[in-house]
């Protein structure tokens, strides 16, 4: 009984998580970390060719930080709290501001462990990061249907078309080993990160195509109802798939969250065109997770239709079984959900591309332009970011960004690293507007962490340069 309750609870949590997902929402880009790349060890995760200035850095579980990004594209606090002329929450305005496709996404990464060692011309890092990505997308009519009812004239043709509904949730742990080094006498750096992925849970509903239509006209809506659901799949794996198994045992929890393997690859490069101009590019998350067949499950819900235009009063008077009820029972009885188990499947990571250039304004200030794109379902979703960076050695680094998407600047980001010896504090957000004006916020993006950093290659190189008369280049390992 208790096991059943726990199982239900866990399943509920997974369902909730699955409902925090969305596709196509540019929330995963971590531009501001790119801007802090010189002092933020985790920036190496974005481009393994970036070599931080620290000689040695590490982050411990619970301290090295997390990055949470939750976003949606259809409402904000101002809308949700607005009042109509009667003092009621202005649901009409909220609904009017819904988009045709409404999306919610939640992406979080928690650094379990980070270890980075800087050589004179190279940087090697080992990291363990837990990631949860969840996305859901739903059509405007879905909310209209719930809020306004099926007879609302705002539902075009009385149609609730759920064809644009989809959801996807992935939880995995990434164990990465990266190495970057200078080539071409330091004019260029290249890097690669090989990632071993451990999939924990996966669930998705793709191409959910359901329609509920209320027939009528402008004067009256409700003549009849028709529901049409095309075949769709609910695919799950890991712990999410194991929960569908009737023979699920507690010992399956550990196995199901650890038995899914995958690999990923990050590639990066930087090129110093001149003393002031530098180009950089990286491709992230090229890879896949192969979900263990033992815990892979696919529920195929067959297509079904049901039409309702009222009860037959003659049947009612005769005391007969109502044919509408019989028809509905027949639909339900014929709804044989096909379950496919024991078939492993792979899911690819969402690949991302960063490419840009920086211009060194002064010794401490730089400006950058970064192009970001996601590879999602064969499409490229681009965004262009302008970045200002102020760096005072390894002590203080500040970045401010403005991102342009769909032809307009719609987001700002900022962040800083502050080295308080012997640890470094990181605070950053890729969505400054939401912090500055929470009433209109559509997203929460926040990075916080404490890294332990030692040494400064910049100082060492500088001193080495100053001591260039020495035959042996020395590197200062003192705490900066």
């Amino acid at each position: 009984m208790i096991e059943k309750s726990i199982r239900k609870f866990v399943f509920g949590i997974i369902l909730i998580i699955s409902f925090l997902g969305n596709e196509g929402l540019l929330a995963q880009s971590d531009m501001i970390s790119y801007g802090l790349n010189k002092t933020l060890p985790q920036a190496n995760n974005l481009n393994p060719a970036i070599l931080p200035d620290y000689k040695f850095s590490f982050g411990l579980p619970g301290l090295s930080g997390f990055h949470i990004n939750t976003a949606q594209n259809f409402t904000n606090l101002e809308l949700l709290s607005s009042k109509d002329e009667n003092g009621n929450i202005n649901t009409g305005r909220i609904i009017d501001n819904l988009r045709r496709n409404n999306r919610i996404s939640s992406n979080s990464s928690i650094n379990i462990l980070h270890l980075g060692i800087r050589g004179a011309t190279s940087y090697t890092a080992f990291s363990v990061t837990n990631r949860i990505n969840a996305r859901i997308s739903f059509p405007r009519e879905f909310i209209q249907f719930i809020a306004l009812g099926n007879a609302s004239d705002q539902l075009e043709d009385g149609l609730l078309d759920m064809g644009r509904f989809s959801t996807k949730t992935t939880a995995y742990t990434e164990v990465g080993l990266s190495h970057g080094r200078e080539i071409l006498n330091g004019k260029m750096t290249v890097g690669v990160r090989v990632k071993y992925l451990i999939g924990h849970a996966y669930a998705d509903i793709k191409s959910f195509d359901a329609r509920l239509q209320t027939f009528g006209n402008a004067d009256f809506r409700g003549d009849s109802l028709a529901m049409n659901v095309n075949e769709f799949d609910i695919r799950s794996a890991g712990i999410a798939g194991a929960l569908f198994d009737e023979d699920f045992q507690d010992e399956d929890i550990r196995k199901s969250v650890l038995s899914n393997r995958g690999f990923g690859l990050d590639l990066g490069a930087t090129y110093e065109f001149s003393k002031k101009i530098k180009f950089f590019a990286s491709v992230n998350d090229l890879g896949f997770i192969r979900w263990n067949q033992q815990y892979a499950n696919q529920q195929t819900i067959p297509a079904f239709q049901y039409e309702f235009s009222g009860v037959d009063v003659v049947e009612l008077i005769n005391g007969e079984d109502l044919s509408v009820i019989n028809d509905f029972d027949s639909v339900i009885n014929n709804l044989e959900i096909a379950e496919t188990t024991g078939e492993a499947f792979s899911t690819s990571l969402i690949g991302r591309l960063y490419a840009g250039a920086s211009y060194q304004l002064t010794r401490r200030q730089a400006a950058s332009a970064i192009l970001y794109s996601e590879f999602y379902r064969g499409a490229l979703i681009p965004a262009l970011t302008g970045m200002y960076n102020f760096q005072a050695g390894t002590f203080f680094n500040f970045a401010f960004s403005a991102t342009m998407m769909n032809g307009r600047v719609n987001n700002f980001g900022t962040g800083l690293t502050l080295n308080l010896m012997p640890f470094q504090i990181v605070l950053a957000t890729n969505d400054l507007l939401s912090l500055v004006n929470p009433m209109k916020a559509r997203a929460v993006d926040f990075r916080f962490g404490i890294n332990h950093t030692f040494g400064n290659v910049g100082n060492a190189k500088s001193r080495a340069k100053k001591d260039s008369k020495n035959t042996i280049e020395t590197i200062d390992l003192g705490i900066d």
């Binding site: 409700g222 009222g310 003659v314 929470p438």
Partner: protein
Amino acid sequence: MKRISGKSIFYLAFMVVISFGGCYSELSDIKFENLKWSPELGVPLVDSKFTLIELLEANADDIDYTTDSNNTIVLSISDDSLFSQSASDYYSLSDQALDVPPIFLTQDEIEEFNSTGQVTVSRDILVDYPNQGNLDEIIIDQGRVETQVEENFPAIVDLSFSLEDPSNTAFLDYNNEFNYSAGNDPVSTDEYADQINNIGFRFDGDPRLRQIMFSFQISLTKVDQNLVFGGNSIDLEVGFQDLEFEGLYGDLSSQDISTETNTIRTDFLNDNELINDIDYYFENPQFRMIFTNSMGVPIRFDVNNFTTYKNGQQTEQPINNSIELESALEGSATRTETNFDANFKNIINNTPDSVSLQIDGVLDPEDVSNNYVTKDSEIRVGYEINLPLEFSLSGLEINETVSLEGIDPQELQYALFKFTSENSLPIDLNFRADLLDEDSALVMNLFDGKFLAGGTESQPATISDIIRLEDNPDTNSNELDELKGVTRIGIRATVSTTNNGSSVVRITSDASVQFNLAVQAKYNVNL
């Protein structure tokens, strides 16, 4: 490049803090309250397509229906035992007493008794069962045999006897010991009765087939006296009583059939208080009388007249028709059907309140000698009215009131009821629904108009209308609020055939009514 001063950074930080503080102060003012949920729901309620036959199946158990060769619906009202009587109402078995001779001892038996003090005697006696009238055979279904025994032997008498019918089946056993004490009166009596079943006697052949065998066993024991020849006897009185026959065969007597004046109801519409006077005309009504005889006796019925009653006035319509039924073979029945369509058309189209039918008759009118009846034999008179729905109708008005506990619309903002009818029946239905308060005063007229319009199978008539109840904030008109005072709904439905019953229409089995009702409503919920 100009160096950024600490002062600048301070001012920038100050501005950021101020602007952040201003923005976040709005958060404390947010109140997520007074959320009003006002869904509009549209739901179909009724989707029915029915023919008149389906409607009759649902509502009128006592009306049968068929279709004729033109596919016209024919309503049938019938009663197969408007009048029925069984053979036992006319014929019966009377009580009978058997002529049983007294039993005396022979000289030898007396001498044996006197010399030995004891004697045992056996006697078998055949006794005729009396014929009743001039019958050939009777079979007694059940009855009672009563015996009275009297003996006057001055001795102890142990008497037993049994009765057997002509098929040698015992149907009564008797046993008794008559004590005697010296010096006392030797006369003793005893009575005994028993039920009998299924005993038959034939009177038209072998005499043994009408005789009952008495078998006696008598044992006498001396007490103090010798016997003398012819001085003592055993006397039996045996009677058959409360007899019911299984069958009577032979010359059954003629009998008059006495019927009551039977009333055939044609007021099945007018019987309903909800329905006012109606006018109708049936083009081809049929009235058929069905006579059935399962007796082995010929019968003649004399159908004398119809008597109609309307508004307290009685009118007789003579018929004077004789119906002859032959005698039936045993286990079967003879049947005769006779139509009185022309008479009935006049009668029913005069919209009578009721109709009486006067019938006389006689069993075995020619007094033939070879008859029979059994306990299951009967005569039966039934009727069947067939009304092909080729008719006109007007003035059918149904008035009804439905009580309500009071309607509380609560937060209902509006309700729309949409009905649509597509009618291929040649019938118009006008409907009026009034909302009334407890003083029967009109609160609101809900609907007054045509609900169904007469159509044809090739050209159904369609009607669609919407009943609207609304709390209109723009006009301060709140029809829904008025519902609170409603305690009854007055309903008036007026039905007529097309053109208000001015011409004869025909209703076929395929003609149907498609009726749809749906509701659309908006409800306000404060969360």
